[in-house]
């Protein structure tokens, strides 16, 4: 009887020792094979191949870019446009290393990224394709109607932590931010927390929840009366309420809308960009012209972004 125990122990160890590395090995090999295949496929078809446009970047823009692509492909069946998200930074690095021909971004390229493109010998063209208001959203039951930029900065930096301090029902403020790979995260930090000074050094509070998508912020705000978050205007759907934002105490505040963003009375808005390479194919150039033309801009309006003013489009 005493001897049988080690045997049983051995059996289990036997199971651990042999099956797991074998399974791991198969897994590793599969991943290696797949990634090699993906790399080669990426190199051959995603560079400036005929009739194929890979657009990658901002999650804020991903629905817009998808609609552009679908609508464009209907009228131009010889062109295929594939759209993926992942964040503005992801899109720019994909364009620089050649796996995407178009980078959709919700922020301008950073100095470092410009240098990187230059180091690879790539000239980059910046195109403004739409405008976007950043809406500050709260739960519909939250009584707060309007905040100033200073109050917003105080909340997101963690200096104001109670709704009672900004005219609401006393209770903890739960800050929702996007992850640092999001253009919206960077824009909000620069323009609200640091009031336009990119080296201002004010940080989001460490308590801020960093959520992986605008959808996740929408979900959490619609469920949590304590929460405050920021999303692109297109994400202001029923279930959350956009606050009015003013530039200061006593100054008039506006809700985010096409008119207030176009005439700049709403203080938190930004251009949306498409970056391309100067040596882009004719397909890409035609697509860009179409996006900036009336049809593309109509889709911008349908998706609750802000179309370019007419004089900007020419």
């Amino acid at each position: 009887m005493e001897r049988e125990v080690p045997q049983q122990v051995k059996q289990v160890q036997h199971f651990r020792g042999r099956t797991l590395p074998a399974a791991a090995l198969v897994g590793v090999l599969t991943i290696l094979l797949l990634s090699t295949a993906a790399c080669t496929a990426g190199q051959s078809s995603l560079s400036r191949g005929e009739g194929f446009i890979q657009a990658k970047g901002s999650d804020t823009m991903v629905n817009l870019a998808q609609m552009w692509a679908e609508s464009y492909m209907q009228s131009n069946p010889e062109v295929v446009v594939a759209v993926t998200g992942g964040g503005s930074g992801t899109g720019i690095s994909a364009m620089i290393n050649g796996t995407a021909s178009i980078a959709n971004t919700s922020r301008a390229m950073k100095q470092k990224e410009q240098e990187q493109a230059a180091a690879q010998g790539i000239d980059v063209v910046e195109n403004i394709v739409a405008l976007d208001g950043i809406a500050v959203v709260v739960h519909p039951d939250n009584p707060v109607e309007e905040l100033t930029l200073d109050q917003l900065a105080g909340i997101f930096a963690g200096e104001i932590t109670d709704w009672g301090d900004v005219g609401g029902t006393p209770g903890p403020i739960v800050i929702l931010s996007r992850e640092s790979n999001s253009g919206t995260h960077v824009f909000f930090k620069e323009h609200v927390l640091n009031r336009g000074d990119s080296k201002g050094g004010v940080e989001y509070a460490p308590e801020a929840l960093l959520l992986p998508s605008s959808q996740a912020i929408f979900e959490e705000v619609s469920q949590n009366p304590n929460a405050i978050g920021y999303v692109g205007m297109g994400y202001v759907l029923s279930g959350v309420r956009a606050l009015k934002v003013s530039r200061g105490e006593g100054l008039p505040g506006g809700s985010p809308s096409i008119e207030t963003v176009q005439d700049d009375s709403y203080p938190i808005s930004r251009p949306l960009y498409i970056y391309t390479r100067t040596d882009s194919s004719q397909d890409v150039l035609d697509y860009l012209d179409w996006i900036r033309g009336p049809e593309g801009q109509e889709i911008v309006r349908e998706l609750d972004f802000v179309p370019l003013k007419q004089e900007d489009t020419t």
Binding site: V12, P172, E179, S180, P206, L209
Partner: protein, 296 residues
Amino acid sequence: MSGSNSPGERLARWIIFASGVLAIGVIALIFVFLLRDSISFLQTYSLVDFLTGRNWYPISEPPVYGLLPIILGSLLVTVVSIVIAVPLGVGTAVYLAEVAPGWLRELLKPLIEVVAAIPSVVLGFIGLTLLAPFLQQALGLDTGLTALTGGIVLAFMALPTIITIAEDAISSVPRAHRQGSLALGATRWQTTSRVVVPAALSGISAAVMLGIGRAIGETMVVLMVTGNAAVMPTSLGAVLGPVRTLTGTIAQEMGETVFRSQHYYALFAVGLVLFIITFIINWIADFVLHRFQESE
């Protein structure tokens, strides 16, 4: 013995040897690359600041890479999931192996294994839309995206692994043990708790360790339901607040980093820390296993 030198035998032996070497080689290479890129990072950033810093602001000027709240966040979520999954998992395994009638066991075992096949993103989505609001209301929390939420979903993911392996270990305890114990006048419960479970303990610990491995390495779920806030967990109450984990940090930020920038290397250093933590857990597991074997 006659076949041991036949060509087929030699070929088989060679293939098995090669796959063994390859598996070890791949792991060694992963470690080498992690180490190389981590060293690139540590040449530009102090190791002490990296491991003990309390703030994680990778895209600021200048960037701050303080990993301590994130290491603690990962450990916190893992501990919560173990505290939930181990008693449930081992209890279920004992029930299946010792108590449940045969037909019920045949029904439950495949069902439990199906749970292991649910994609983690689906579990994360359920956690985000059902569990998080429920916990927030039930416990009166500021937000439902907490270490507890993550731990519960991870426990659910680790359960099938723990149950399956622990049940195998318990079932393979020889019949003679049970019969001997019962013959000496022990009750069924005494037999189970004093004879069968101790005899299967090394297998059960293996099951628990594999479950822990699953929990600490899981990414998608924690990304979706833990809130990803790099807050320093200072007390046990942090379980009811948001945390940021090592895996979530790498997954979320790797896509954005500029290739070969300091941030890029910093994420490799995060990977190295995760690798070392996993290594230590495995090492402790082995140590514990050997102790049990010696004391038997």
